[in-house]
Amino acid sequence: MAVTTIAGADIHVDDDGFMTEYDEWSEDLAGELARAIGIELTDAHWKVITFLREDYKEQGETATLRRVTTAGGIPTKELFQLFPKKPARKMAYVSGLPKPVGCV
């Protein structure tokens, strides 16, 4: 685990750059993280981020794409448009949540 500085804040990240401390995340940070992977956040992105953050607080793990679609009500197709190519990873990255665990 390493500490890095983004938007003036020291944050803990794993080897792949995913934040590991839920409370170190902030809305400003989300904007910076998104920019780092080529995404400008819109209201539609925020809806996803808000769901992910809330859901993590309740469930203790990062929601899967399926869960964002069924429990969060956001179509999978839209997730691919908002966070192209690897939506599950990108959503988690921007939301400051652990990398989704690939089920073994």
């Binding site: 080897d15 399926r66 069924t70 999978t76 691919f80 190519k85 690897k86 690939g102 089920c103 073994v104």
Partner: protein
Amino acid sequence: MVKQTKRFIPAGVTKLDEQVARVDTNANTVHLASGEELMYDQLVIATGTSPRPSETPGLEGPEYGRTVHDFYTLEGATNLRDALANFTGGKLVVNLIELPIKCPVAPLEFTFLAESFFAERGMRDQVEITYVTPLEGAFTKPVASKELGDMLDSRKIALEADFYLERVDADEKKLVSYDEREVDYDLLVTVPLNFGADFVAESGLGDELNHVNVDHYTFLANGTDNVFAVGDAANLPTSKAGSVAHFAIDVFTENFLDHIEGRPMTHAFDGHANCYIESGHGKAMLIDFNYTTQPLKGKFPVPGVGPFSLLEETEMNHFGKMMFKWIYWNILLPGKDLPLPAAMSMAGKIEVDA
């Protein structure tokens, strides 16, 4: 492969051939589809998970069992056997739609065996094989993903990764992903989405895929103190595999005996899984891992027979898998002791940095 279940039901156990329609966890009652009700003091759910092709647009239809196949049911496997025997060449696409599925190595295993089958028939050069997966690589965890990816490479099997299937176009014979990528096939072998039993959702016990939300170490269902889910039915973050169910039950039994006596459950399951992967050409691999340790390379010692080789193709591993058929029916299923500890061991494994 098919045997009567009767001889495996121990004396003192009543087996009802009935469907469970719903569980009322407040009233401690199981409602059967027949209308009958069963009261319980403790409930153990073990209703597994099963393929649901109807969940993927375009998958089920007139081509199902003809050019579109699965091998997760007896009927599916039989149809596929015939289709493979009659296949004269072209594009074979093997597709994993989404995890979790029971036996997550099965689609790769099928791919290797199909490659071997066509090679033996002297028609390997007439078959283009592609493995299509929503994962980033051949498998979930880095070490195994690399080894298995190299095996696909060396067999000239193409890998289409990060492919999240939206629909099957069975008329045009193509897979279409959510980000509008397309993969053409002549023969499609897919693993449909796996869902737990409907009553799990009806009873408010499940996640999005009807797998029971449980404590990962004791299998106690969330929000209850007398309902457990074991085996594939539970949403554990490890493989849905017979080996996992086996190791888990060793831990569960001890805990359960304490629990019904009102004592705290002191044993914790580690997520141990142990799976052979048949790789064709008379060889197989073995993987052994748990919640925290990914499948690693090295040796897997077994008193009297081993060691087997981890993440390496050997004839010895294939022999182990073949022996297992007998072990399964005669030792494992009747609940006799197998000389393998429930908890994963690091003995023989080669460690890597996180």
